[in-house]
Symmetry: C3
Subunit: 340 residues, 3 copies
């Protein structure tokens, strides 16, 4: 079942030539594909914290469909699309006609007819991006900007880019992800990407209530204790604790969480001396991470944000190119048919 | 009085050379002008569902002034303006200084001074676009994106473009408009456009409470019954039923409306076999229209949306050109005066 | 203390070569610098009410960070940035992660990492723009779009541009500012700019409760009476009365204010015959100013709005250039260090 799910996701994401046409999850994509995305993202980085603009999407329209608000992620996609010279439209879903009783499918079809080329989708329901990709007409590329607890693949890929640029590769790495793994789309996407890219060992660390139930299936090692979990790790990724979870029974209070799982200098002493410290942001200082660690020499938290622009540029450019190649193939088949 | 109203509207919309300088209503414009708009819109369509970009408004600023919210219409104007390389600003009227006691006229003057070239206006009050066009300084073009129950001329023109492209012309056509005619700015603008373009017969179909009181003056045939009203029609346009009206005493409940006036396959059997089915959107499936009709082979509903981009591009380009020609004429008169 | 404050502000605003790198307040800037800003703004005006576009910020990202809403000011910065070919992002602070417990500094660092070049900041707290400028990494330019009661320097500079263009200079001018001086960031910035630019006399006119307590320090002449205050003035600037103040005990009702301090034709009879009438907008007709004065031949109120685009273009261009020069200097020092 797990394989067939990955297989399905792969079929939807790729065109007949194996090129990316939607970017929905890291699951189901090959190591070659993930590496291509990282290489493409690398090509936009100028090495001085700047990003090279390329007018690859000039004349194309990217529509941000955010069914749940996220100024931060929406802004990164908007910057990325503009750096590719696309026209960007932020569709305010809450004010739009879905609230007037229009179905989601009708709304998508209407936006398509307004000559959209890419939908960047953020949705509170797991699987929403896949559903939307299955509904749109063939030439529209769908990029998942986070769906429920399922996937946040651009976040995962920017984390992979960060690791590759600062650790040189994945083969010999032990990576620990800390916090609320169970409810985290980021963790889920990271685990799939790290496995595909060949990380030596993936660990998850957190209280039992926040650990995944299917961890054996995921192929990760589970730790409830930071001292053993962080031992000799090369990369430590602290996840954001959602306030809404802290208020529920699932989690101890934020100071208690920090007491047990906060990423502190003291706790990192057992890790590799040049451990890379990462966090998807926005950080809660004194909850998941000590300020001195977040701002310290091993922290790559702001690099992650910067690389995120390049990764989103890569994914936008590649999915549009994949759609164009698929259309060209269809047209050439039609022409061949005509010629017979 | 009716004629003088049309005459007034015409004078405001055209410059001294008869070129479009505002686009406020289909009423008062000649068949030649409407045909020119359709031809210009056609020129932006590439024939494969795509739209040709042209940088006709590069360096110009289009301001969307939406006094009532409409994500859908605003988005189409934003896409159209960007495809012409204009800078687009969405002015959030509800948060702007009119709420601080500034008069509408002062707000307009201020926006003009910020170097606007076009105001796209949506307003809940009938006549608002005309009023605004009468207040702005001469070089600003005003495009009506819907005012009260009065007019929605770009919607009417995209419907005309749809009919012309799919029926070939207007002369031999019987067109039926179904639903809440009385409160519909779309119906009003369509009736004027169809009459001007020479449609053979225009029918309106709906419950007595929702039919116009001045129908004889409008020159349309009125039907309260779908079977007789749809007989042999070439085009059937279902209007959207506004929920707020359904909740009032004016309308039966939505299922009762569907029972009497829903556009179904069964009812369309009396129409022309290749009847064109249209709807301004967003559709209420099972209220105004049967899903199988909306998604069926005769439905042009999504084409309408697509053509709407081209029509808005045409109107934006033509009004700006009309304003520039008017300014040039004024300047040359000033220069001639200087020379004497 | 006053001098050291100005000195501090100056140090933060200029790079090592004395070029503008942030624009936070008119206080602390030299007459040469203010004149350079005015000259640069002048260069964007085409003399016919139009603005010359220049692609000076092509490929650069301007982020509008408005912690308090101001559609009007935000729109002017958006227009100005687009006329310089910048990408503009309006960050909706109220919906962004600061509301999720992220610190302001973390939010700024994140936005920087998204490759921002300029932050345009509006904030309800006095000193916020200075604080933000002190926190950002060196290559980000900060432009103050109004902070608390402290400063609104682009408004002051567009007023200076208006005066210079219509009065020819500052040396022989008597300028009166009327209304709620004490709470006005506009008045504060104007007074500093007028002093620096060498105005002959600066007067403030208003009820005692609304006059500054430190007026002697400011070097202005204070009048509670319009007849003596307006006598022989060359420029009369009416400030906007904030409704929230009128509702408090600080102010008489609006009609009582108008009766005492409204700028009327009658009252202006004692002023210079070609007195320039100005107002930062939006105007309250019949509260601060008589309609006939606002719309009369001496009024420059709409010119001010128009010049405001040019002033914002100048400040955006100059601060980015100042940052680039500072970076280039750092890099050349690094290279020299390498060479040794």
């Amino acid at each position: 079942m797990h394989l067939s799910h990955a297989h399905q996701a792969s079929r939807l994401q790729l065109n007949d030539h194996g090129q990316l046409r939607h970017f929905l999850s890291t699951e189901g994509l090959s190591r070659e594909m993930l590496t291509t995305i990282l290489d493409r993202a690398d090509s936009f980085l100028d090495g001085h914290g700047g990003i090279r603009n390329e007018p690859l999407l000039a004349g194309r329209t990217v529509m941000n469909l955010f069914f749940e608000p996220s100024t931060r992620t929406r802004t990164t996609f908007e910057v990325a699309a503009k750096r590719l010279s696309a026209d960007v439209l932020n569709i305010d879903i809450s004010k739009s006609s879905t609230s007037k009783g229009e179905t989601l499918r009708d709304m998508l079809w209407n936006l398509e007819a307004m000559t959209a080329d890419v939908f960047v989708v953020r949705h509170g329901a797991s699987g929403a991006a896949h559903f939307i990709a299955s509904q749109v007409t063939p030439h529209i590329a769908v990029v998942n900007a986070g769906d429920g607890r399922h996937a946040h693949p651009t976040q995962a890929m920017l984390d992979m880019l960060t690791i590759r640029r600062h650790a040189g590769g994945f083969e010999n790495l032990t990576v620990a992800i800390i916090g609320d793994i169970r409810h985290s789309r980021v963790a889920r996407s990271e685990i799939h990407a790290l496995q595909t890219l060949g990380a030596k060992e993936i660990r998850v660390i957190g209280p039992r209530t926040l650990l995944p139930r299917d961890f054996e299936e995921l192929g990760v090692n589970v730790f409830e204790d930071m001292t053993t979990g962080l031992r000799d790790v090369d990369v430590a990724i602290a996840l954001r604790i959602q306030n809404e979870r802290m208020e529920s029974a699932l989690l101890p209070g934020s100071s208690e969480f920090y007491g047990l799982y906060g990423l502190t200098r003291e706790r990192l002493k057992v890790a590799s001396p040049d451990v890379l410290v990462m966090h998807p942001g926005p950080i809660n200082r004194g909850v998941e991470i000590e300020s001195e660690v977040a701002d310290g020499p091993n922290s790559l938290i702001l690099k992650q944000v910067n690389y995120g622009i390049a990764v989103r540029m890569a994914v936008l450019a590649m999915t549009v190119e994949g759609q164009l190649a698929a259309q060209a193939a269809v047209q050439s088949r039609v022409l061949e048919g005509d010629a017979q």
